[in-house]
């Protein structure tokens, strides 16, 4: 397994939105989901997950409600709101454009300049 890389500034919000866009999840579930889809290559500070969740909820992009977890305990589940969905799409497009651009810049050879 490759050495996990640190999370880029500001990307945690996007990862959370992606995780809950696949279905409602509790906080721990979000952590597991992100690790799972990143194939364990991303290191997430667990303590910083919750402030991000609270911030997203405060901004109205995700909503929460209490439910029962798989191990029969009370857990707080987060789901994407309609506003969150639009935001996620916008963010994704922005990210893709940015990634393409940076990849383009980085792959430039001396001859092309």
């Amino acid at each position: 397994m490759a050495k996990p890389i640190d999370l880029l500034q500001g990307t945690l919000d996007m990862l959370i939105l992606k995780a809950v866009s696949l279905g409602p999840l509790h906080g721990y579930g979000i952590l597991l989901r992100i690790q799972q889809i990143s194939k364990e290559r991303l290191e997430i500070q667990q303590g910083s997950l919750y402030p991000a969740l609270y911030r997203l909820e405060h901004q109205g992009w995700i909503a929460s409600e209490w439910g029962e977890s798989e191990n029969k305990r009370k857990a707080k589940y987060y789901r994407l709101t309609a506003a969150g969905k639009r935001r996620f799409q916008a963010e994704t497009e922005k990210w893709n454009r940015m990634a393409d651009m940076i990849a383009g810049i980085l792959s430039t050879t001396p001859e092309e300049v």
């Binding site: 500070q45 303590g47 402030p51 609270y54």
Partner: protein, 894 residues
């Protein structure tokens, strides 16, 4: 983010604060426990799994804090949290909290009470519309002419000359006090009232509650039989009858038609709001038209003038305009040169009058109390923040930001100061009650003093300011601490604690100095008070009944008639069993100012009419001096054998003899009123100076003459004095019956014993002593608490050092002395600074003092010793504690 979600979030924060908090707990716990479960599934033992799960998660509290911030409404929430925390902390040290709150509450309460008085008297506008435009044009005596007062009353002609050219005034009116015998409505009563010109009420801008003000027609001779009643008179005498308008009442034997009733709070002018030389009544009860004739004769009259400036005209502009009038008048008639100078005085300033200085004194005194209270609380908080240095260091090490720590300290001090403000308002309320009940009646506008919005705002402002100051200073000091150093070094010895020890000592020294200034001031006033009690007023007050006998002017128009009446009255009163002696006079001691006049003396001829000297002039009957208990210094008293036909005689006071015949004595000399129409009187006796307005007054030369030797004053408002064998109050009813037996229409006014008059004249100095005395006592108490606190703390800090000293063989007595010495040094420094400050401050008080110099060495020394004694007493307990330090325990202490 939508507005809705923002609102929902806030609502959640505020309404369901504790629920979100426990939900957050549950959520985070769920996370950690789930992680631990996963780890056990991987084969890790439960204990180890929990530990690792927590480690992986990181700082739970930090995460919570960040979550709270992320939720948005963190300010209110952390504020509530801070307040809860502060409250818990303060409750844990009730001694500190109570001392701090009560100390500050005393300071805030006292200053708010004084501020309420200052606000009502100096700051609040007068209760008349556009009151800044109301002025009193006053006639000023020519320079160098001593009339006993700076102002001369207006004459009718002069008033007409002013109104003819009254350019700066929108309206200007005149008024004059008079007393009115009300008859035909129950018991006859003598009522204080005013004759006021038609412009009087418009100048004030006040309209009657019922009816209308005087018309121009009514303000003319022959038409002036209309009366306006005060609300009080209307309620007391006419049972608040709303149909009173148009009814007639009998005043001084004439019928007057009631045209109006004034609003409840209207009583202009009150005595305390006007120059005292006018001798106005305390509270007028009625007004009638002044009715100046169209062509008034020149000659004296006792008018006062009031005007309302035109809109936009300032007082200096008005002054310039009346100066032009003066020039004009002087140019037309040279007899007026020097005698028509006017000064335009705003009514507000006249009303405040002489109370500005005492008020400033009070304000200064209370500021000192507040300063002492503040420095005391600052010391307490400083001491406490030092003791809490470890706590703060620990919290900072655990990740609390600097701002967060300062905010916490600020919350604590604000909690203290706002609580103190609330308690202070209660104290202020009690103080206002005290001032209104005990305050002397000659303080203007005292009845308007209330705990109103400006006072509440003042109290709140002071508490917030003190709270912020005291929270911020130790807070910043604490936040600047070097974490590592303070953790390593324990709770003392660092640079910071040496700094704050110096600060604490400086605060203590200033407390002692401030308290000394205040107590010395109070001491000087107290000595003044006792000097006054022992002052010789020239009479003996015990068992003397006095009253006024106002005569209806129509019925008693002839002087012979009056003389006969007084002879009759004296004969009847002297026959009452229990009456020792009886006399009639224009004034009674401390009953107010009498008349004064220009005099001529053949052995002191004046160069011109202008330079003729003035003297007080009092008409009396035989028996007057023995009734008021004034002994004769030389010569003889007036006798029954001095009559209209015998030689006209006079008695003068010691001040007059000393001024004009210091070596040869006054007996046998001649003196007379300024005009030669009246004969010269031969002086037959000399009496001590009798005081008229207060025991502290500088007595002026005074001459007495007999009522039956054709004096010129009207004698319509003479006073009667009776010396009785028993309680004077016991004969009051008999006296009343005897007077009514002579004339049933004669009212008895101003019935009072001489002791009451003395007491009334003492109310102002007594009040000052009470007020400054209680401030002084408060300052002493606060300063001794401060001393106790500082010395106790320093003993606590030096416990280890003391232990070592003792272990090395120091005597217990020596330790005791060392602690006491520390206190004495601080107190001594404070006293030295305070003495210098007091020398400067007490000079400002010179006008309040009597019989004691502002630098009275006895007071200065006595108060210094008292303060030193109290300071040592405050050190005694901590010093004893230091003496009992067990070296073993002390060395283990840290």
């Amino acid at each position: 983010m939508t507005l809705g979600s923002r609102l929902r979030s806030w609502q959640r924060t505020i309404l369901q604060r504790s629920r979100t908090e426990s939900e957050m707990d549950a959520e985070l716990r769920f996370h950690v426990e789930s992680r631990a479960e996963d780890l056990t599934r991987g084969g890790v033992p439960l204990q180890e799994a929990r530990r690792r799960a927590q480690l992986e998660f990181g700082g739970i509290e930090t995460a919570k804090e960040e979550c709270r911030e992320a939720r948005g409404a963190s300010f209110i929430e952390t504020l509530l949290q801070d307040i809860r925390f502060a409250w818990r902390l303060l409750r844990k040290s009730p001694g500190f909290t109570t001392t701090a709150v009560l100390t500050l509450a005393a300071g805030i309460g006292a200053s708010a009470a004084v501020f309420s008085v200052v606000n009502a008297i100096l700051l609040k506008p007068l209760p008349y519309p556009d009151s800044s435009r109301i002025v009193l044009p006053e006639l000023v005596a020519p320079a160098g002419v001593n009339l006993g007062s700076e102002y001369i009353p207006w004459g009718q002609l002069q008033f007409r000359m002013l109104t003819r050219d009254a350019h700066p005034f929108q309206t200007v009116g005149a008024f004059q006090n008079d007393s009115f015998n009300l008859t035909g409505a129950g018991e006859p009563a003598s009522l204080d009232g005013f004759r006021a010109s038609q412009e009087f009420f418009p100048a004030l801008g006040v309209a009657p509650e019922l009816g209308r003000a005087f018309t121009t027609e009514e303000d003319q001779p022959g038409h002036e039989f209309e009366v306006i009643l005060s609300d009080r008179l209307w309620r007391e005498r006419f049972s608040a009858d709303r149909n009173i308008l148009g009814r007639t009442v009998e005043l001084n034997g004439s019928s007057y038609t009631v045209v109006a009733v004034m609003p409840a709070d209207f009583a202009f002018p009150r005595a305390e709001e006007m120059p005292s030389s006018f001798n106005f009544p305390r509270e007028p009860q009625l007004w009638v038209p002044l009715a100046i004739p169209a062509e008034p004769k020149p000659g004296p009259s006792e008018l006062a003038v009031i005007g309302r400036l035109k809109p936009g005209v300032t007082v200096p502009q008005a002054q310039a305009a009346v100066n032009l009038i003066t020039e004009h008048v002087e140019a037309q008639d040279h007899r007026y040169v020097g005698w028509f100078n006017m000064r335009v005085v705003p009514l507000q300033r006249q009303v405040v009058g002489d109370t500005r200085l005492p008020l400033q004194l009070m304000l200064g005194a209370v500021c000192i109390v507040l300063l002492i209270a503040c420095s005391n609380v600052a010391n307490l908080l400083l001491t406490r923040s030092l003791a809490r240095r470890r706590e703060f260091t620990l919290r900072a090490a655990l990740g609390a930001g600097r701002a967060r720590l300062i905010r916490q300290l600020l919350t604590e001090s604000l909690l203290i100061s706002v609580t103190a403000g609330a308690v202070g308002i209660l104290i202020a309320n009690a103080g206002i009650y005290f001032v209104k009940t005990l305050g002397p009646s000659n303080i203007p506008r005292l009845r308007e003093v209330t705990l109103d919005l400006p006072v509440l705002a003042f109290a709140l402002g002071v508490s917030l300011a003190t709270g912020i100051l005291f929270g911020l200073v130790p807070g910043i000091a604490a936040a600047r601490e070097n974490l590592v150093d303070s953790l390593k070094e324990g709770s003392h010895k660092s640079e910071g604690s040496r700094m704050s020890a110096r600060l604490r000592n400086a605060l203590l020294v200033s407390q002692v100095a401030l308290a000394l200034v205040l107590v010395i001031s109070a001491g000087l006033l107290t000595r003044t008070f006792f000097q006054l009690l022992g002052a010789d007023g020239g009479f003996s007050a015990e068992q003397v009944l006095t009253f006024q006998l106002p005569l209806p002017p129509l019925k008693y128009a002839e002087q012979d008639h009056i003389v006969a009446l007084f002879g009759n009255v004296l004969e009847r009163l002297r026959a009452i069993p229990g009456v020792q002696s009886a006399g009639i006079g224009e004034t009674v001691p401390l009953g107010g100012e009498g008349e004064s006049t220009v005099i001529r003396m053949p052995d002191h001829p004046a160069a011109s009419q202008k330079e003729m000297p003035f003297a007080n002039f009092t008409v009396i009957s035989p028996g007057y001096f023995s009734a008021i208990g004034t002994p004769l210094l030389r010569g003889r008293d007036f006798l029954e054998t001095d009559t209209t036909d015998s030689m006209p005689v006079a008695i003068v006071n010691a001040a007059m003899e000393k001024k004009y015949w210091p070596n040869e004595g006054a007996i046998g000399r001649q003196v007379g009123p300024g005009t030669t129409r009246f004969p010269l009187l031969t002086i037959v006796g000399v009496v001590p100076d009798v005081k008229h307005t207060s025991l502290r007054e500088e007595t002026a030369p005074e001459m007495y003459m007999l009522y039956n030797q054709k004096p010129w004053p009207s004698m319509l408002e003479m006073r009667v004095a009776l010396r009785t064998k028993a309680d004077p109050a016991s004969v009051t009813e008999t006296v009343r019956e005897n007077i009514h037996a002579i004339d049933p229409d004669l009212p008895l006014a101003r019935v009072a014993t001489l002791t009451t008059l003395v007491d009334d004249s003492m109310s102002q100095p007594r009040f000052s002593v009470l007020l400054l005395g209680s401030f002084g006592a408060l300052a002493l108490l606060l300063a001794s608490i401060g001393m106790y606190g500082v010395i106790s703390y320093s003993v606590l800090q030096r416990t280890q050092e003391i232990g070592i000293r003792m272990a090395l063989g120091a005597q217990r007595r020596k330790v005791f002395g060392m602690v006491l010495g520390q206190g004495a040094r601080l107190a001594g420094l404070g006293i030295a600074i305070g003495l210098v400050a007091a020398l400067g401050v007490t000079r400002l008080m010179a006008s309040f003092l009597y019989g004691v110099r502002p630098t009275d060495p006895l007071t200065f020394a006595g108060v210094s010793l008292l303060l030193l004694g109290i300071a040592l007493l405050a050190c005694y307990l901590p010093a004893r504690r230091a003496m009992r330090v067990d070296p073993m325990v002390a060395l283990k202490y840290e």
